[in-house]
Subunit: 128 residues, 2 copies
């Protein structure tokens, strides 16, 4: 089933739009290579490829805010995935917001238009 997805365009990666299956909010954008896609399907939890760390990234592995997969869609060109998830812990964003898209353009100014749902310090507590 991963054959439908075109991993050939951008260094073996496809962008993944992540949408909350209940609220419909667009939570974040991440990337998958074929192996991350297959791990996501097999485990039922979102697993991405971190472009900066160059490693698999099980979303929420550190914070506990994992993403349970509810549905996986592919677009007409086969080069983008839409993942509908149950966002555990209520926050997808490392800054403590439900969605990473918490800033909206208002005239010429970006304004924060959401309330934090969790304290970011609680997501990544300092190691003892």
């Amino acid at each position: 089933m991963s054959e439908v997805i075109d991993f050939g365009k951008t260094d073996g990666l496809v962008p993944v739009v992540v949408q909350d299956d209940t609220s419909g909010a667009v939570l974040m954008l991440a990337y998958m290579n074929r192996a991350a896609f297959e791990r996501t399907v097999a485990s039922g939890y979102a697993t991405y490829w971190s472009r900066s760390r160059r490693t698999f990234w099980v979303k929420g592995e550190t914070s506990g805010n994992r993403q349970r997969v509810r549905a996986i869609h592919v677009d007409c060109d086969g080069d983008t995935i839409l993942l509908r998830v149950e966002q555990q812990g209520g926050a997808a964003c490392h800054e403590g917001y439900e969605s990473c898209f918490f800033r909206r353009l208002d005239g010429e100014t970006w304004r924060v238009i959401a309330e934090r749902v969790v304290d970011p310090a609680s997501l990544y507590p300092p190691k003892p």
Copy 2:
């Protein structure tokens, strides 16, 4: 206001998630460079950068199914845009579906889970 957006990561382009402002459906993913972003803001209609044709792409310029901008969001890292739009003509996808993500994984099979809202032939009629 485009200074907040990090156009430096991928050949001057950022991915743009396009969401219907009314239905909440994720319609498509496209790309903008800084100039396309500024044209979008100035015109109020979604203008992307076509990676394949290497040119600006006013969505709906041919089909008439333009996207009126309702809101522009940026993510925490400043490297992805979320565009909330009014999708004119009801279909964002060139195949005649509301959303380009009309296929969903069902076991190991991708199934079409939406109905066409317009005849694709009517979107791009043959030139006389």
